[in-house]
């Protein structure tokens, strides 16, 4: 028996956690201790389900993983659970599951979540999936556990878009929120910037320079169909979707200068929203669609302003410093995320829109393109590390920072996609 246990202990699967670089500061020790046992039979999938669930939850910064050895016979969701025993191992929560091959070549994945403090069975889910859906299923399990234990929706099943420059090529990439499972939507010899997800997550608007000037496209991800949304004389850039998914706000120079316009997603019905003598760009809608935040240098330095989405008088929002750009609004509409320059450093900042309290979230110096997770908990950003563009995610309170693993190329322009039904 002792030999068996020793062998089991050697089987501890910790590689998933070791790849992640997560920095938790401040009161980050308030993490929920959770044990996620290897799912019985998951070896048949070629990739573990439980290791992805573990990595997802750990990356959120809200959970502390307790190691569970692979037992033989393995634990499954049907195993009797000695809550007191798990609690004595300091686990507040426990996930047990199994993977079984079906006669049709698909797999059934079952899991159960237990609250060992309350001694309660928080129920679980069974999924039928193909082998290729293992990652998706694992992310869904992580979302389920996250929501049950924190009370807010998880974002592990969502996707991100970003641009990578490799040699003389630019590629628009789509990946899972953890940076894995990457696919290419567009490859070009010319730059691609400012990807923006449609509210339904099926299309991306972006700026492509393939015609030697910035042109706004709307790109349907499933079939690769592209439609020109704005290709007027001059520059066409900074697309953002209205919450209803039918219109875009863009910055156009067709009338001189860079000014904000509304245009239908098919390129029709262009309409100027505001008039200023300076640069107006980087529009973004408030979640209720009623307000547009944007960057303008009308006051002498680039600052963030807001105006009614139907047009009208603009009010200045940022006052600290001489360079505040790239506004984004949190999904609850309460927080402005943006890039602030101070002392020559460009950093991600947030402003509580009610109190006007400003917080700098990062200690890097070349941050760009912040993007809220759809639950508002994290902000994805691009920064430069050792001369190369990389992606980081920082929690909205600044306590948790993590670098997304990515091996090849210069990465920039991240955009976090919406929740998926």
């Amino acid at each position: 028996m002792r030999k068996l246990l020793a062998a089991l202990l050697l089987c501890f699967a910790t590689s998933a956690a070791a790849q992640l670089s997560i920095e938790v500061t401040g009161a980050g020790s308030q993490r929920i201790p959770i044990a996620i046992a290897p799912f019985a039979g998951e070896g048949a999938l070629g990739q573990g389900i439980s290791s992805i669930v573990r990595a997802d939850l750990e990356r959120s910064g809200l959970f502390r993983m307790l190691e569970v050895p692979a037992l033989n016979p393995p634990l499954t969701e049907a195993s009797p659970v000695n809550h007191a025993e798990w609690r004595s191992r300091l686990a507040d929560a426990l996930v047990l599951g199994s993977v079984a091959a079906r006669p049709d070549g698909r797999f059934e994945v079952r899991f159960k979540l237990f609250d060992t403090v309350k001694g309660a069975d928080l129920s679980g889910v069974a999924y039928t999936m193909s082998r290729e859906q293992a990652r998706t299923t694992a992310h869904r399990i992580a979302d389920y556990v996250y929501e049950k234990l924190t009370g807010e929706k998880g974002v592990f099943s969502t996707r991100i878009a970003f641009v990578v420059k490799r040699g003389d090529r630019f590629a628009l990439q789509i990946a899972d929120a953890d940076g894995a499972g990457e696919e290419t939507a567009l490859v070009s010899f010319e730059p691609i910037i400012s990807p923006a997800w449609s509210p339904d997550g099926r299309r991306l608007a972006y700026v492509s320079f393939e015609n030697k000037k910035p042109v706004v496209y709307v790109h349907s991800l499933a079939d690769g169909k592209r439609q020109v949304a704005a290709n007027f004389k001059g520059s066409n850039s900074a697309p953002t979707w209205a919450p209803d998914g039918t219109r875009l706000a863009v910055s156009l120079s067709r009338d001189g200068g860079s000014q904000i316009f509304l245009v239908n997603a098919d390129g029709s019905g262009v309409r100027r929203l505001a008039q200023s003598s300076g640069i107006d760009t980087e529009p973004v809608f408030s979640p209720d669609g009623g307000t547009i935040y944007f960057t303008s240098d009308r006051g002498g330095s680039p600052q963030i302003y807001r105006m009614p989405a139907g047009g009208g008088e603009a009010q200045r929002v940022t006052f600290e410093g001489t360079y505040n750009v790239s506004p984004r609004i949190s999904p609850d509409g309460k927080v402005l995320g943006y890039i602030a320059r101070s002392g020559g450093k460009f950093q991600v900042a947030t402003m509580d829109l009610a109190s006007r309290q400003v917080q700098i979230l990062t200690d890097s110096d070349k941050d760009e393109s912040p993007s809220f997770a759809p639950n508002g908990r994290m902000i994805l950003l691009a920064t430069v590390n050792a001369g190369r563009g990389v992606l980081f995610a920082v929690s909205s309170d600044g306590r948790i920072k993590q670098r997304l693993p990515y091996a090849g190329g210069d990465v920039r322009e991240p955009a976090w996609g919406p929740f998926v039904k």
Partner: protein, 180 residues
């Protein structure tokens, strides 16, 4: 430590000797097998790859490749958009060429250094290219001959991260039709 694992192990053994997974209490596991995880395009749908790398243009026009017309770049100081005196003869020559060749068209691309927001830099580069266009128009070129656009910080001429590189990247470039 060993005692704890023994207990866990025994629990596992006990489970194994019991009922198989499929016969557990259905009330405690919400079975969604009737509605399997579908390949939702928004999460996991296959992405159709679009390749536009075939559109690279390398035009040559001998008429505008010699003398002062071969000079195509105007450089700027930090946060400046005005055309410095040293570049005025260059702009004048191109204005003369456009005036004398009303069928010719030109693209003026404004560029910035890498610092700051990419989109805001599109706006700054646009200010530079519109400054060049304005001067060309004042010198007799016609509106329909010139398009002024911005590449922002996206097409640096110098790849470095210091003032020497940045000063090369704060510029406007002139391209004639056939070159873009």
């Amino acid at each position: 430590m060993r005692a704890i694992w023994l207990t866990v192990l025994m629990a596992g053994l006990a489970a194994c000797s019991g009922a198989p997974t499929t016969e557990q209490d259905p009330a405690s596991v919400e079975d969604r097998s009737a509605k399997p995880v579908t390949k939702d395009p928004a999460t996991t749908g296959p992405i159709a790859k679009v390749d536009v790398t075939g559109t690279r243009i390398t035009g040559q026009d001998p008429a505008v490749k010699t003398g002062v017309l071969a000079q195509r770049s105007i450089f700027y100081d930090l946060d400046q958009y005005d055309i410095k005196d040293q570049y005025k003869p260059l702009v004048e020559a191109h204005a003369r060429y456009l005036r004398d060749n009303p069928g010719r068209k030109m693209l003026v691309q404004g560029n910035t250094d890498e610092r700051g927001s990419r989109e805001y830099n599109i706006g700054l580069g646009q200010k530079r290219s519109e400054g060049v266009k304005k001067m060309l128009l004042l010198l007799g070129a016609r509106e329909e001959q010139i398009e002024s656009v911005s590449l922002g910080e996206e097409k640096p001429r110098a790849e470095g991260h210091d003032e020497q590189a940045w000063s090369q990247n704060r510029r406007s470039d002139i391209l004639y039709q056939g070159e873009y």
